[in-house]
């Protein structure tokens, strides 16, 4: 079965985060109430005209620059004509012949470059919903929400590569504050097109497209299923027909949606109601200057500056706010190795549990920095620090206050520790006896008992040393 080469290209629609829609003044804010954010323009009433909301332009350019594209100084809008109830005008305003940006690339972990064919601006359609009584309902809140479509060349050879590309893309547009890019809300929609060919064939096979993929998981599953389907057909000697496959999330299966429309059926022509979009070199330069550090750049820098592993770096840079939080929190902290795990495990766990972002945490980077420095100075051990962190996340109190509430000083003084150890020895005389008779491994047990008694408030190093000393007596 391994005789086929899989070729995949990806079209991605990303909603651009602007206050108002792309061709009118309606709000883009999500609302449950259907047809609330609509006006004559986005409803396509007779006689209305679109005017470009320029807010979308710099945001799209930023994305294009992040993907190493050429920004076209002249681009233009066009009409894509087709009938569907969720399309108010009977055509979608998009860019066709003259897109905003062309010929970029994204480098994958393996070093492979995925070529970006084009990035263009367009308007989103409304939504058609089918209710239980088989009525079709229309909601035009989404109609006219700005989109950019990012089209790759057919450069992927596996679903893994596609997922990596899309994850990177999501990270990039979030870093640039261009989009919230949540797949489950349709803010980022990836549509792979897939074809198979025999190893010695030069020509690409007939491709099919998959739609309705609302998560990375679905995309992965969808691609795998489609590759299987095509393999099976080809091995039976059948031909692949160009279709759009619909992914059924519930049943986890693909079914053909409709025969793929060819370009001719869209009857593209230049949009006469909008002038060309002309951009000056100066304007593009200004945007270049205002670019923030991209995820890949940040990852590389954090690895270098903080000695993070690639995997640690990936987790920490998965989100721009989180990466910033990390950098601020570890400022001046010496023993980075020791505290990094807080950013890999503990803090992500808190965020996940509460389903919040780092900005919504009850404590700030200053408090965390204090705590991390306490670890540095061995004032608290890691276990105790974890407790404190948990309490910080619940109460928002500063670590000093938490320690005070928890029973005075950070650590018990030597005298207290000594007394405590003597107590432990008394309580565990049998084990002490056995230890003294050569059962070395019981030392650990005794340390544990001391720690338990100290409720994490004693420096483990101190316990270790003192216990050894006292046992020698």
């Amino acid at each position: 079965m391994d005789e086929y080469i899989v070729t995949i290209g990806v079209e991605t629609h990303i909603q651009i985060k602007t206050k108002s829609k792309i061709f009118c003044k309606c709000s883009t804010e999500f609302t449950e109430e259907p047809n609330r954010n609509v006006c004559p323009i986005c409803m396509g009433l007779p006689g209305v005209m679109p005017t470009l909301n320029f807010e979308v332009v710099p945001l799209a350019i930023k994305t294009a620059l992040a993907l190493n594209c050429n920004i076209n100084r002249i681009s233009g809008f066009a009409r894509k004509n087709y009938f569907y109830p969720d399309l108010p005008k009977g055509y979608q305003i998009t860019q066709h012949e003259f897109p905003l940006a062309t010929s970029g690339y994204m480098q994958l972990r393996s070093g492979k470059k995925i070529r970006i064919k084009r990035i263009h601006l367009e308007e989103d359609t409304g939504k058609m919903i089918h209710d239980q009584d088989q009525n079709s309902l229309l909601d035009f809140n989404r109609a006219g929400v700005p989109l950019m479509e990012i089209v790759t060349e057919p450069d992927f050879n596996s679903e893994k590569e596609v997922i990596e590309y899309l994850e990177n893309l999501q990270r990039i547009v979030r870093y640039l504050d261009v989009s919230t890019a949540n797949m489950e809300f349709g803010e980022l929609r990836g549509e792979p097109n897939i074809s198979l060919r025999k190893k010695d064939d030069q020509k690409l096979g007939t491709k099919t497209e998959i739609k309705n993929l609302n998560s990375f998981k679905s995309i992965e599953k969808g691609i795998i299923l489609e590759i299987e389907r095509q393999k099976e057909l080809l091995s039976k000697g059948e031909r692949i027909i160009s279709v759009t496959m619909l992914f059924d999330e519930r049943k986890q299966e693909l079914r053909p949606m409709r025969k793929k429309e060819s370009v001719s059926e869209y009857r593209y022509f230049p949009e006469p109601d909008l002038p060309d979009l002309l951009l000056s070199e100066n304007f593009i330069e200004e945007i270049k200057k205002s670019m923030v550090e991209l995820p890949s750049q940040k990852l590389e820098r954090l690895q270098k500056d903080y000695g993070l592993s690639f995997e640690e770096g990936e987790i920490i840079t998965s989100n721009r706010d989180f990466a910033d939080f990390f950098e601020k929190s570890v400022d001046g902290v010496k023993n980075l190795k020791k505290v990094t795990k807080f950013f890999i495990r503990e803090i992500p766990a808190i965020l996940n549990e509460k389903k919040i972002g780092v900005k919504d945490l009850k404590f700030n980077h200053k408090d965390l920095n204090k705590l991390l420095k306490m670890i540095d100075e061995e004032k608290v051990n890691l276990n105790f620090a974890q407790d404190i962190l948990k309490k910080m996340s619940l109460t928002g109190n500063d670590p000093d206050d938490i320690i005070k509430c928890d029973g005075g000083n950070i650590s018990l003084n030597e005298k207290d520790v000594e007394n405590m150890i003597i107590e432990v020895i008394k309580e565990n005389s049998k084990e002490v006896e056995r230890y003294k008779n050569g059962e070395d491994k019981l030392f650990g047990f005794l340390v544990g008992q001391c720690m338990k008694k100290a409720k994490n408030r004693a420096n483990p190093k101190l316990i270790n040393e003192m216990l050894k000393e006292i046992l020698k007596r």
């Binding site: 004559p40 409803m43 396509g44 009433l45 007779p46 006689g47 209305v48 005209m49 679109p50 005017t51 470009l52 009409r79 004509n81 009938f83 109830p85 108010p88 005008k89 009977g90 055509y91 229309l138 060819s262 370009v263 001719s264 059926e265 009857r267 593209y268 022509f269 006469p272 109601d273 909008l274 002038p275």
Partner: protein, 462 residues
């Protein structure tokens, strides 16, 4: 009455805006020419009442305060029906104001109603309207021209002092010629198209129909100027200069000899006024008709796609499937001529035929360059507005080819994007004959000034 006279009577207290509105509605009813689809009586009386108060107090808003006007029924007015002369929109109430109406309302002018028109402005005789043909006031058996036929008739019959029409290939100038009034098509981008229902967006212009050129200037000054809703505008205007050189067209194929005769009379009149007329050739006319047809039909097929019976307009919710619903609504809602153009346009835009649309742009460039080169040597061009006189109702309904010839002397001005105006050049057997003056791009103000003088000269001779 024209704007100037009407204002004088308002100022002198001889007559009030409310009186005028009363008498107009009476006359519209009596004349029964079918020039209106909707009368806006509520709006008119309210606006007239307010205007009357302003005249009494002496704080008059503008030159057009209290002046009754009408809009071709493809301009949007909030709360009023906008049919575009089509069954598919016969019950459509618009929820917003077009920019043109907005500006006129602000100037204090009074909206009398919405004028009849060829369906979606596609036609040259007003016979394609779902609301029936409009009668030419000069002879009720004759067509008023189109597509702004209702507008021309309402001005000619003094049902409104001026009317706003739309001109995509001659739709304001040709009916002006047929009804003996003034029809002005400015340079593209001088008047906002926001709220004008699109026929062919790259050629559609807002036109003005009045009793004389002086009124036309006043209305133009009220409605012109950039609009945040229309990003295809450009308010650049050429500097004022004197009219010196005029050119005329020597051979006009297909033209009715009666039209030519009148045209020659006007030309000699211009010569008597001291202008030397030089002949030019309009050998791009045939090409202009090809470009015009391809472009308008392609754009129309897309512009009219929104009338699908889903959100507004004619609705048919019984059907086996979506396609069924679409076919029913559009099959029943559109008239023959509109369907013909949508189908041709759709066909022309299909991939295999896409080059036709591209080609039409090349042709358009060629025509534009040809017209520009004429205006390198001349200030103004004079030519007939229409190849023929008004014809009888029903005479040419089933002859689309002959019908399309109607635009041949006017469409090039839209393609080349230059201003043009038709004024009455006299009568032939009691039917009006128009004469057209075409100016250089952005020469709108100059053209109006020059033609105003010529109009006075023509009127002098009677």
């Amino acid at each position: 009455m024209n704007i100037e006279d009407l204002r004088e009577s308002f100022l002198g207290g001889k007559v009030s805006p409310v009186d005028i509105v009363d008498s107009l509605y009476k006359k519209i009813d009596e004349d029964d020419l079918n020039d209106f689809i909707t009368l806006s009586k509520n709006i008119a009386y309210e606006q007239a009442y307010l205007s009357e108060k302003r005249y009494k107090k002496g704080d008059i808003l503008s030159e057009t305060d209290g002046i009754p006007f009408s809009l071709k029924d493809n301009f949007s007015v909030k709360g009023l029906r906008m049919t575009c002369g089509s069954k598919i929109l016969s019950d459509f109430i618009s929820p917003y104001d077009s920019t043109v109406y907005e500006r006129l309302k602000r100037s204090g002018a009074i909206l009398i109603g919405k004028n009849n028109l060829d369906e979606f402005a596609m036609g040259s005789s007003n016979e394609t309207s779902f609301f029936g043909v409009v009668k030419n006031p000069h002879n009720r058996e004759y067509v008023p021209g189109g597509s702004s036929g209702g507008s021309a008739v309402s001005v000619a019959s003094k049902h409104s002092t001026f009317s706003i029409g739309s001109d995509t290939g001659g739709s304001v100038r040709q009916p002006a010629s047929f009804c003996g009034v003034v029809g002005f098509k400015p340079t593209y981008g001088k008047i906002s198209r926001y709220g004008l229902v699109a026929f062919s967006s790259s050629l559609d212009t807002v036109g003005i129909m009045t009793l004389n050129v002086s009124d036309c200037k006043k209305v133009f000054n009220t409605v012109r100027g950039n609009d945040k809703h229309d990003s295809t505008m450009d308010d650049h205007i050429n500097e004022k200069r004197d009219l010196k050189k005029i050119c005329f067209v020597k051979d006009i194929p297909h033209a009715d000899l009666k039209v030519i005769k009148k045209y020659e009379e006007i030309c000699s009149k211009l010569e008597r006024m001291g202008f030397s007329l030089q002949p030019i050739n309009l050998d791009f006319i045939d090409l202009s008709m090809a470009a015009y047809k391809i472009q308008t039909m392609c754009e129309a097929s897309s512009n009219l796609a929104r009338y699908d019976g889903i959100k507004y307009g004619l609705q048919k919710f019984s059907g086996d499937n979506l396609f069924d619903i679409y076919s029913k609504v559009r099959g029943e809602g559109f008239g023959k001529e509109v369907k013909r153009r949508i189908m041709t346009g759709t066909y022309l835009l299909m991939y295999e035929n896409g080059r036709y649309y591209d080609l039409s742009f090349k042709l358009r460039d060629y025509i534009s360059n040809s017209v520009d080169s004429i205006f390198e040597n001349f200030d103004m061009m004079v030519l007939p507005t229409s190849l023929f006189l008004p014809f009888k109702i029903g005479e040419r309904v089933d002859d689309p080819v002959m019908m399309h010839l109607s635009d041949s002397l006017t469409a090039f001005a839209n393609l080349a994007n230059v201003p043009a105006i038709s004024i009455n050049g006299g009568y032939y057997e009691k039917l009006p004959v128009g004469v057209q003056f075409v100016g250089k791009r952005n020469d709108d103000d100059n053209l109006l000034d020059w033609v105003k003088i010529i109009e006075e000269e023509i009127k002098k001779d009677g």
